[in-house]
């Protein structure tokens, strides 16, 4: 069927090319607007305790709205200095003209908005726009602020996400600017001719443009994370180039065998095209597993990645054959050099060498990969905070300034929402809140507690009892003020500023401690806020992760089972793949958690691995690195089916796929490494992780571990129960 399709595309080549040109032209109109549909956040899900806590807060206290902070700082002037205050007042004044600004809460009306040292303060601008879209108004707010002499920044979640989006877009432009020429260079190295090298670049480019346009259209009906942009581009560019490389390579082989262009196209599509379809299927299985997660951020990457993979597969199996037919023997035009890869028969000789010491190689390489994966044992995963941006981005600098001046707990405090029968300040409420407040104030992990029973540590329980004896007639103005802010009927809220950043194990431990306290005392209490949100996010993520992994492994196994018609071969493929991923993950821990080579890759070590990274990497890389396994084993099986014994089939398979796999891996590694220049650590890590995983897969796994394992398993490689594949061996 693929052969027939190949002939059809060859004959109707101009229709096919015309279709893709039109599609690309339309996509060019839509793709640049993709940023307008991307949303911030995407790290929340229904049913998380931190979400329920916030909903309960909104239900009882009203929606706090989204807030953008305007930070003022001066080393010379104190925030109380009239010059400082007047400058800030002048800067903020124009904001009142903006329709969506509900309220501006200046620092001179609230001492908690002035840092303890007194030289940094912020105004909170409350806007009537939801959190996911608030980042879009940040440029307007920046423009509306009147210029002043003292240092001024726009901060808060909206500014952070605005920075993420603009950084993502500039990362993307940079990655494209670096990745495309280098991919072209790599392809030139592979093919030696400009025309042959150009085809995968066109295919990759078209996949990305159409993919981004597709996301723009899908974005009209579904939410897409701003993090999806780079991942989708990486996948589109890498796969688009990779797949057409397989086809161009095979096409040239077939031409060299003396086939006509139409026959060569037909054979190419029925062989390499088939492998591309299976490979695309493997990548889609991996990426679509992300849709199992409730978090919009992962789900949208899953949808976007799957869509762009489909487009890359379609481009490779329709556009590329049409182009190849048009080019015919001209595929080698623009020759710049004549590639000479190693000695003839080198791959086969290497395979035979490995298979002579199969046990030893298996053990040594296996141990080597496990050693590389060992850092995974001490992985600390955490949800993303400002640390995902490089230290020179504005949001990160303001985050660092606020952390330094106010303390990290002030930026992302935890909070509890509790309900007490008989009123928040009834006897039970006062008793519980006093004890809880005392426990928190004496806990070394806590810097500050704010709540109606935390006015001052010198106030005794009996004094509080007197203060709140009649919650409707509170005489002490401070107590009355705190009661107004922190209580509504039966509900009370307390804010807790942890000493350590919300993403730290210490802050997460405090959230666990609060929940354990709740359970121990049988309270109707929910914990939310910074650390709880991050903690709940990564807990839920890793609750679902094993299910996604199991699904990927199972479906991949079944697909490969039908491809190879073997019980053990797919198992081995899945196993090898997992090993190279484990090694890649180990490297991510060393680099991004421990900070190895941080200077080289230009980032500040997080002290943890961003929680979505292992999930994203597993979903993305399992399919990508499975490609090479599929190509290799397909060739091995081909040789085995042709009568070669197991050892010879492995040697021949390695020999026949060696060059093309090396070339394809090189292209994807080059494209992936272009994303290592990203300013967003998450994207940097995806790029580096992909490059390392594919490097390991294309080198030690393919050349050493696979032949060794194949030898060790012997004829069991090809065993399958007779009833499973009737008529097959």
């Amino acid at each position: 069927m693929l052969e027939r399709l190949g002939r059809l595309f060859a004959r109707r080549r101009w229709y096919v090319i015309g279709f893709w040109v039109l599609l690309a032209a339309l996509s060019l109109l839509l793709a640049p607007r993709v940023g307008s549909v991307l949303r911030a956040g995407g790290f929340s899900a229904a049913g998380l305790e931190s979400e329920i806590a916030f909903e309960r807060y909104q239900q009882d206290f009203g929606s706090p709205g989204s807030a953008v902070s305007i930070v003022f700082h001066s080393e010379e002037l104190a925030a109380s200095d009239p010059v400082f205050v007047e400058a800030a007042r002048a800067a903020l004044h124009p904001l009142n003209q903006l329709d969506y600004v509900r309220q501006v809460l200046p620092f001179w009306d609230n001492p908690t908005q002035v840092a303890p040292r007194g030289h940094t303060a912020y105004a909170a601008v409350v806007v009537d726009i939801d959190d996911e879209r608030a980042h879009r108004i940040v440029p307007d707010i920046r423009a509306a602020l009147a210029p002043i002499e003292i240092e001024m920044h726009v901060a808060g979640a909206a500014a952070f996400y605005e920075d993420i989006q603009s950084t993502s877009e500039s990362d993307l432009r940079r990655a494209e600017a670096i990745g495309l020429p280098f991919a072209l260079l790599a392809l030139l190295l592979v093919f030696g001719s400009l025309v042959a090298a150009g085809v995968p670049v066109i295919s990759g480019g078209v996949s990305v443009i159409v993919g981004l346009a597709a996301i723009f259209l899908l974005g009209q009906v579904a939410s897409f994370s701003i993090f999806a942009l780079n991942v989708v581009t990486l996948v589109g560019l890498g796969l688009g180039a990779d797949y057409s490389l397989f086809l161009v390579s095979r096409f040239r082989e077939e031409l060299a065998r003396g086939l006509s262009p139409e026959d060569a196209v037909a054979v190419t599509l029925s062989t390499a095209g088939r492998a591309v379809l299976f490979s695309g299927l493997a990548v889609m299985i991996g990426l679509s597993s992300l849709t199992m997660f409730e978090f919009m951020m992962l789900r949208s990457i899953g949808i976007g990645g799957t869509v762009v993979t489909i487009i890359a597969v379609l481009a490779a199996t329709t556009l590329v054959p049409a182009i190849l037919m048009v080019l015919g023997p001209n595929i080698d035009r623009g020759r710049v050099w004549r590639p000479r890869f190693g000695v003839r028969d080198g791959w086969a000789r290497l395979a035979r060498l490995v298979m002579r010491r199969a046990g030893l190689v298996f053990l040594l390489v296996g141990l080597f990969l496990l050693l590389m994966g060992a850092p995974l044992l001490r992985i600390r995963v955490n949800a993303p905070d400002a640390g995902v941006l490089t230290p020179d981005s504005e949001s990160r600098q303001v985050y660092d300034l606020l952390s330094r001046e106010f303390g990290v707990g002030h930026i992302a405090p935890s909070f509890i929402v509790a309900r007490f029968e008989g009123g928040a300040l009834g006897p039970a409420g006062i008793d519980t809140l006093y004890r809880l407040g005392l426990a928190l104030e004496n806990d070394p992990r806590v810097v500050r507690v704010r709540g109606p029973l935390n006015l001052d540590p010198r106030i005794t329980f009996d004094e509080y009892r007197l203060l709140y004896a009649d919650p409707d007639q509170i005489a002490d103005p401070y107590a009355a003020g705190f009661a107004t802010v922190f209580t509504r009927g039966d509900t009370v809220v307390m804010s807790i500023e942890p000493r350590a950043p919300a993403a730290s194990p210490e802050a997460r431990g405090l959230v666990d401690a609060l929940r354990e306290y709740r359970d121990r005392h049988g309270l109707d209490l929910l914990v939310g806020g910074g650390a709880a949100g991050l903690s709940d996010f990564s807990d839920r993520l890793y609750e679902d992760f094993p299910k996604a992994v199991a699904l990927i492994l199972l479906v991949s196994y079944v697909v490969l089972l039908f491809l190879f018609r073997s019980i053990l071969l797919p198992l081995k493929a899945v196993f090898m793949n997992t090993l190279s991923l484990a090694a890649s993950f180990g490297m991510l821990v060393l680099v991004f958690q421990d900070g190895w080579l941080a200077n080289v890759f230009r980032f500040e070590p997080l002290g943890y691995v961003e929680a979505t990274l292992p999930v994203l990497m597993f979903a993305l890389l399992f399919g990508l690195s499975m490609d090479y396994e599929v190509f290799l084993l397909a060739r091995v099986k081909e040789a085995h089916d042709s009568g070669s014994d197991n050892t010879e089939a492995v040697a021949l398979g390695l020999e026949r796929s060696g060059r093309v796999i090396t070339s394809a891996a090189m292209v994807v590694i080059v494209v992936s490494l272009a994303f290592v220049t990203a300013d967003i650590v998450l994207i940097k890590a995806v790029g580096l992780g992909a490059a390392v995983a594919i490097f390991i897969d294309a080198t030690v796994v393919r050349t050493l571990l696979v032949p060794a394992t194949m030898k060790l398993l012997g004829e069991w490689n090809w065993w399958a129960p007779g009833w499973l594949f009737r008529g097959a061996k």
């Binding site: 303890p116 296996g366 004890r435 005392l438 928190l440 010198r458 009996d462 203060l467 196993f575």
Partner: protein, 371 residues
Amino acid sequence: MIKRHSLLFLLGAALFTLTLAACARDFAPLADVPPAAADPAALPPISLPADHAPHDNLSEWWYFTGHLSDDSVHEYGFEFVIFQADRGGEIAYAAHFALTDPAAGDFAYDQRTSFAHGSRQAVGLDLCVGGWTLAEADGSFAFTADLPDRRLTLRLSPIKPPAIHNRDGLLDFAPYGWSYYYSYTRLDVSGELSGDGGPAEIHGQAWMDHQWGDFISVGAGGWDWFSLQLDDGRDFTASIIRGDDGEVVLKYATLVAPNGVARHLEAGEFTITAGDEWASPTTGAIYPSRWRLVIPDAAIDLELRPVLAAQELDARASTGNIYWEGVVLAVGESGALGRGYVELTGYAPGATALSLDILTGPRTDLCAPAP
């Protein structure tokens, strides 16, 4: 084959272990902490003049009451007080000023607030609350306060040494905290009262109370406070504090001899009994009135008569309470034997009118009135 499978199994087991890497978190439960009880006995003694200045405690006030007359022998009573409340570093100031003109049957008062954050005002006693000032220098005090139509500026110099109450100046309100307390029971006063008719020189005698500590003055049952300056040179003060159930929880007094020697009186050494009531037409509160004071050991048996019934202050806009504070005459069998001031709190339900202002008021100019 078994050997080969064992290798695969080992590798698989190791891989499985890798995938089980746990998400790190440092768990330590929240410990139940017993409340720390304050021990007033461990506090240092009062040290003057250093202790005239503001302290780092929950509550503090400087209270001045007195009796003035101008050259035309027109008499006035005055009350001027500054309160300082510290709640976790958020410091609120409130000030009350009242003038009683018994001849005109006039009682006028006003109040001010201002808020500070993190630090108190200047070193020493030098306060400004919404434009009203109080300062101490070289053992003398000075304050300025105004009403819409009058402005009072006074200099106050102690005639007697400070009276340290309750023997060591410390009151234990356990479990409701503790307080330091001393008074200048007689100060010589001179100054100026400006009004519609221009400034007038005035002079007289005043009383000063300074109290501070980790206690909250509101919320309990309230208290009755009495201060008397007798014509024979003796001064007397008594405090009767009620619990939230209305029962007396603390009662003590100090009798100061003409030479300034203070004698602490236990609850059983004196009696103060109200003989009348006054219902406030504005707030509806019912206050006791017209007391009989008996101190058998000191041969004192006096009736304390308010010179005006209506000397009530509605201070909900500043300290959040309503109280009565007014001039009384001490009358004996042979006629007036002295003058004094009485303060009555806890008779009207208090509720602050400040609400969120106290959390969000301006912090930049303490001398400017808060919104």
